[in-house]
Structure formats: structure tokens, C-alpha cells
Symmetry: C2
Subunit: 256 residues, 2 copies
Amino acid sequence: MKLIQSRDNPFFKDIVKLAGSARQRAKAGQTLLDGTHLLSAYLDAGKQPLHILLNSVALKDDEVEALLKRAVGVPMTQLDDKLFAELTELKTPTGLLALVEIPQPLPADSRFALLLEDIQDPGNLGSMLRSAAAAGCDAVYLSKGCADAWSPRVLRAAMGGHFALSIYESADLISVAATLPGTVFAASLNGDAGLYDCDLEGDIAFAIGNEGAGLSQALQAAASRRFTIPMPGKVESLNAAAAAAVCLFEAVRQRR
Amino acid sequence: MKLIQSRDNPFFKDIVKLAGSARQRAKAGQTLLDGTHLLSAYLDAGKQPLHILLNSVALKDDEVEALLKRAVGVPMTQLDDKLFAELTELKTPTGLLALVEIPQPLPADSRFALLLEDIQDPGNLGSMLRSAAAAGCDAVYLSKGCADAWSPRVLRAAMGGHFALSIYESADLISVAATLPGTVFAASLNGDAGLYDCDLEGDIAFAIGNEGAGLSQALQAAASRRFTIPMPGKVESLNAAAAAAVCLFEAVRQRR
């Protein structure tokens, strides 16, 4: 296996750029999966990475060894441990990074979608993608103001949810709302209906807004219905990712 | 108004300790609320802070001025802007910090409680407290392994949820589960029942486990029932805070 020891190695320099820059990821159409869990989920989805990077610890790890057997014919390179450490944000890295292509979303004919407007916190965005994948959504549309869906932090928080979804970035949510086949439900603090009074059994999409500002008036107007999550307690709003989970799983309940 | 300009000021040194140390907060029984939103929620709950700290920007702010009129007789001190900046983690601080007593939880006779085992991420813990307060829970019990509930990050993420709840820290969840009046429902990936088949209308508590490990076997055994959130998609678990929100709001739905 090839070993890279110099920070000046051109391949290493490219990888550093990819790890740190949303722009570079979009330009290259590639990102990095950090750790065995994400690579395992990626392989489970029937995909193969472009390249696997390892440190000296991973090379001696049984779990890594078993995983690598599933990555047939994928080029592998060892990075000097110090160079590897520059690429990971994990506190206890598994010593494995997979370079992968960012999947192109499938043509849009969603039956159960999530529209996210300006979700800025990577942890929230990742949690929402994870919830959407668990609930059986097929597509997630992200406005331009959302965090980069393919950043290390969002990938980590979504725990593989990315690979079960078609993810449309920089989407014009108002035209998406106009063209989706089903009913678009917009979460609002003063909607016309309670969430539990909405019929969620057909083709649907939920629109969830920014952590502080909520959904824009324009997107609320473009939606078919505006609803509110009933909150009997003394606090009148939820974290955006918590709100998304409540909505998605009320649909799961109705669609059983 | 008094102005503190020296880092050696004993009061400022105490406040720095309080901002940075869970141990110091527990010892003093005090914490800091960062920003106007948290102070407003605290005042709404009928409480008054011990002291208010301001920077030069806040002193000229109309929102702050209106808020301060509600803090009757509370001592106020201006901090030099550089000293103030050392106490806040906010990217756009409002320039106001309130020193408050950590409320003592009320005697335990909960009708709708949340038991949290070893929730380590402050953002998750804050989101859970916010969801619990919005759902109308009266009590939240935290195991020793949870993040400090009164840390700046958890307070920020909970958006005032703390002040609508009795929060029991370092709780022995197994004896709590044994003594609570109602049914204790434990979230598990392989429970005996689906969430939507559980009767959540009486006195209940939900137990939610650690982000990676889930609920301990011991706490699952101590619970009255073990249930699973149905997940029709290709991802088989949720973020812990998302799972808590789904459970709490299924109870809200059933208890309407």
C-alpha cells in the first residue's frame, strides 16, 4: 500500500481542500466519509468509494479489515498519522476516510419529501436527513441558505441517512412546492390546522424553516396548507430538527 | 452603574469560573443566562436574577432597556467590552448576562416525565429540555452521565425550557423508574410494542438513552414497557433528541 508522508503531496493537498471547503466539494463533486460507520452505510447502499485513506491504527483494526473486504478493487493509501489527524474532526477517529462521489439526485417524482429552508446548523441538518431517511422519505430539497449537506459534520450527524435519499441542494423551494405532485404542508407557529388534524396519507411534503426565523412568508404562501404542532406546555417552539421529526413521524403513524 | 475594567476584580473572577465550570456552578448553585431571550423567559417564569452584567452595546439597546425595566431592584454592573467577550460563546452576543440561582426542583410527583440516561451532547440535551417543556412535561430526570443541564450551551439550546420544568440532576434513574406513579416507557430498538400502540393517556414517563449506546439493560428492565419507534425507511435509528420529540409529541397527540 502506498504511504504518503509529505504535506506537499498533491493528492493529500487536494484531500485537505475537500475536507475544509464546501465550494471545493461542490466543484469536485466529491466528499469524504469519516469513519467506519459511514463507509459501512455507503457500501450497504450498493455504492463503492473512489479511494480509501487509512492511518497506522486502522491498518491493525479487525473491524476496518472486515470492512475493507467489501470495498472491492478500491485504491487504498496510508497517510502518516499526523497528516491523517489533519483531516478528521472526530475525537476518537477510526483512522479511515473514504473519498466518494456525491450522488446525483434522481429525477424528481417524490411521494414523501422534506423541504428545508435555510437550516444553518450542521447538527440540525444532519439530524433532519437522518429522520427523513428513517421515516421513509424519498427526497429532501435544500434552499441555498442551508448548510452544505455533504460537509463532514452533516454527514456525521446524519449517520448514513444521505445514502437513502435524493438530496437536491440549492433548490428553489417555491418552484419545488409548485411542481411536487402531492400536498405541501408548511410548519408555522400560526397555521390554519393542527398537525394531528392533517391528512398525511397521500403524496406529501413537509416544509420546515430556519432555526430562528421559521419559514418565509413566500414559502408559506406557496404551500398547500399551513399547520401548527400543538404545544400544550409553556414553551412555544421546538428546535427545528425536533419539529421535523415530530412531523415526519406523525406521517409514519398515519401511513402505517 | 458600577463599571468593572480589571480582570483581577474578584466578582469578575467568580463569574469567569461560573461560566467555565460545571463544578463551580453546582457548588455555587448559580449559573449565567446569556442574552435577552433567556432572561426574558426567566422573568416570564416569575423569577428575578441575582445580578445583571452588561457591555457598552447593550447599554444603548432599546430591547435591553425594556427588559431591564422588568428586573426590579436587581443590581447591574457594566463590564468592559473585552471582559464581557470572555464570558459569552454567542457569535452575536446581545451584551447581557444574568446571574441567576439554579432553581431547586419541586418534590417529585410527576404526571408526565422524561428520564434521560447519559445524554452527552449539550445541543441534544438542550433540544430535549425544550421539547419536554413544549409538550407539557413537568419533570426531567438526568443521570449522572448527562451533560451539565445548566451550562451555557444547554441553556442556549433549550431556549427557556429549563424554567418550565423541574430538573433533577445526578438522578438514580432506576429508583426513579421504580417510584414514579405512572407507567415508564423505555425507548429501545427492539421493544415489545410500537410507540403508536402504547396507551399514553395516563401518568407516564419516557426513558431515552445515550446517543451511541441507547438505554442500559438495567434501565430497560426497570421500565414498565419497552417500545420501538416504527421506522419504515432504510435508516434504523434517530438522533436521541429527535427520538425524544417523536415520543413526547405522540403523547401530546393522544392526550389532546
